[in-house]
């Protein structure tokens, strides 16, 4: 993690008591990247929110089903009641699927955004002096 510390080499800044980035640092973000990042953030949020709604639907739907259809939810299946089976066993695999979908998609989104940004900057040319420096710092 030393790479990010090298951004603030001054000895007086070691305490990191203030967090406002110096103006020079803020200029390091090319405006094109900013647009892409904004887009990335929005699409990340859409992804999160969609999966959130799916899971909330399941989570809050189960008590509603228990309330509306108690006879069905309390049917016995080899000892279990249906709702016991759903809540104590089957809900966990559902969380795994949702988190797997999320991790895969969000990493895809980021990689796509990185590709856009790189190609976008190449088109802009190197007039700003190799603005981003992201390839140099690539881990």
């Amino acid at each position: 993690m030393s790479g990010s510390n090298e951004m603030h080499p001054g000895p007086g800044q070691k305490q990191t008591s203030k967090q406002v980035p110096p103006a020079s640092e803020m200029k390091q973000i090319p405006s094109a990247s900013e647009v892409y990042l904004d887009k990335l953030m929005k699409s990340q949020f859409r992804l999160s929110f969609r999966l959130f709604m799916v899971f909330v639907g399941i989570l809050l739907g189960l008590p509603a089903l228990n309330y509306v259809f108690p006879e069905i939810m309390n049917l016995r299946i080899s000892g279990f009641t249906l709702t016991w089976l759903l809540l104590a066993v089957l809900i966990y695999p559902v969380t795994w699927v949702i988190s797997w979908v999320y991790v895969r998609n969000s990493i895809d989104l980021e990689e796509k955004a990185l590709t856009w940004m790189k190609t976008g900057e190449e088109q802009q040319g190197q007039q700003e002096g190799g603005a981003c420096g992201c390839s140099r710092e690539f881990r």
Binding site: M1, S4, M7, P21, E34, M41, S48, Y92, A113, C134
Partner: protein, 695 residues
Amino acid sequence: MQQGIQVIPLIGVILLVIITIGLGFYIRRSVRGTADMYVASRAVSVPMNSSAISGEYLSAASFMGVAGMIMKSGYDNIWYPVGYAAGYLFLLLFIASPLRRFGAYTIPDFAEGRYDSPRFRKIAVIFVLFIGFFYTMPQMKGAGTAFVNILNTPYWVGVGVVGFVVVFNVALGGMKGITFVQAVQYWIKMAAISIPMFIMFIYLGGYGANLEKFHNDPRQGNSLPRFAADYTAIYKPDPPMNEIVFGAATRGVFLNDTRVVITTSRRIPADAAGVDAQQLMNSTLPDTSELITLPTGERAAAYLYRAGDRFETGNPVTVISQGHPVTVADPVTGEKHPLTVSARFIVTPAGPQNEVRISYHAGQPVPNAPADKSWLEPYGVLSSQYGHPVIYTYSLIIAIVCGTAGLPHILVRFYTNPDGKTARKSTFWVMILLGVFYLFPPMFGALGRAWTPELYSVAGGARSTDSVVLVLPRLLNNYVPHLGDILSAVTSMGAFAGFMTTFSGLLVSMTSALAHDVYGTMINPRATSSQKVAAFRVFAVIAGSTACLLGVFVENFDINMMVGWAFAIGAASYFPMLIVSCWWKKCTAIGAGTGMLIGGTSALAAIVSVMLADKQLIPSLGVWFGEHPVIKTLCEQPAIWAVPFSLLLIIAVSAATQKYVPPNSAWKMLVLHAPEELNLQNREYITEDEERGYL
């Protein structure tokens, strides 16, 4: 009942303590400076970090408390493990990656860094400490309770032992030290809950086969569990341990002189005819009685039973009002049932002893146990206690889920990931590790009800349902000599791993708040690295000792109730603040601070008001709650209104204070969400140490 020292479990626990301290020493050699101490140098691999997060998260509440709660009230309490796991999903979706990318170390760091507001840091510090101490108390209680079970030591011994080991490890190795220990202890806990369960399945029958013993058909749904052997229950004179609710005619013998107040198991409407004590009893009441004043202000007769006196309670009686049975509507189906009540004892020792012993014969119904149907089906005894089970259930779910996302020791863990991408990957693996673990507590609940129902007979304390994880495996002694003791040793090790990991995580986050946010940032911002490490160690000892002291005072509290409190406060303070801060550019420090402070304190006030009413400290409040059950439900489980309230406050106050939006908030949003490859990261708040090797 098992008395005396349980030798084999004791060996297990000693082994665990030695392993833990040994790991601490082993790691100590590689701890080099502040970055190791606070964030394990942000270089923890995905498998290690996900095991460590899971290890930290699976607390005493998860290991013992959840199984005990499910045994006690059945289906309704399965929402606890589900909510614990689901809360993680929300962290993954909204908070894990931005929080790691921001690069701040503690939540107070984040609060200050996101808004450039030192004042906001102070508010956040207070909340870290508050939630932290609230959440350590149940861990301590679990430790004390487990020691009572294994060693028959006084309660405070367990608290002291766990406290000492953890403070020692945290002071020695900080975050780096506990990361490895927690990762190892996750696997200890996983093995400790799964292996005994699989072996019990062989001897005691499978999961479904045991659930099948409980009936939910109308004819047999009211069956109660019965004592398998003669059992002597010990009732301490403090509530709730001195209350015995009998569901059906039950015979017992008092083993020492006892004063018994006999009341009804449920409240009787004021317009109905009262039910007097003799109507609730099959045996004749003793001649000697005196009139005493109950904490509620009512006058009641306390009957004096002598040592050796037998009693038999009656079957439920129907409450009559003006010659007709009083009916109550079932809160779920709306069907009208006649209101029935049975006997409820409040016992106090009349002799020199400080406890009441009652002996029950094999085959008698177990007091304090819910009937089969209400245990097995949703909207049972827990959620229906105030007559509004649906509201109660939803509020409980929201509190647990959002509360998980607001626990400071969980959030700090994301900073030990190398970057946002690995933070996500770790969280995904945590979902799997937690999900697999949480399959097991309901099994203990089900097998506990079937095989060790005597644990119901005392409503709290060391030998209640809370100890089912430790007590149930001992049954196997009847099948294979010593097998039960060995398995009980294994579950004891798991339980102790639970207290230790969660306590160490909390201690690191509280110590960081004190050492990094209070000392390093407010008191002595020019502290050198070695001063910071020293401060970390000093504050670890101070915070740890305080937590132990608090732990000693909570012997009679319900573990999960205390966890619920910590969660409700976290849910209404940190969770809304973090989610809005991570995703809304126009949020202001004033808005976020106001929402967090007012949301959190109002949730706390609501919960405390219920406690004051329940403990009879403000009797008039208790009476008022009795008349307004919906409000009591909403106060006991405040998340359902407190989380939206806090979110709304943040948004509304931010909208009103738009001129205070930090000028660089657009840049901050980029830092939160840009992949590390762009190197936009905020400053590191914990700098790598240059004085390597001075330790």
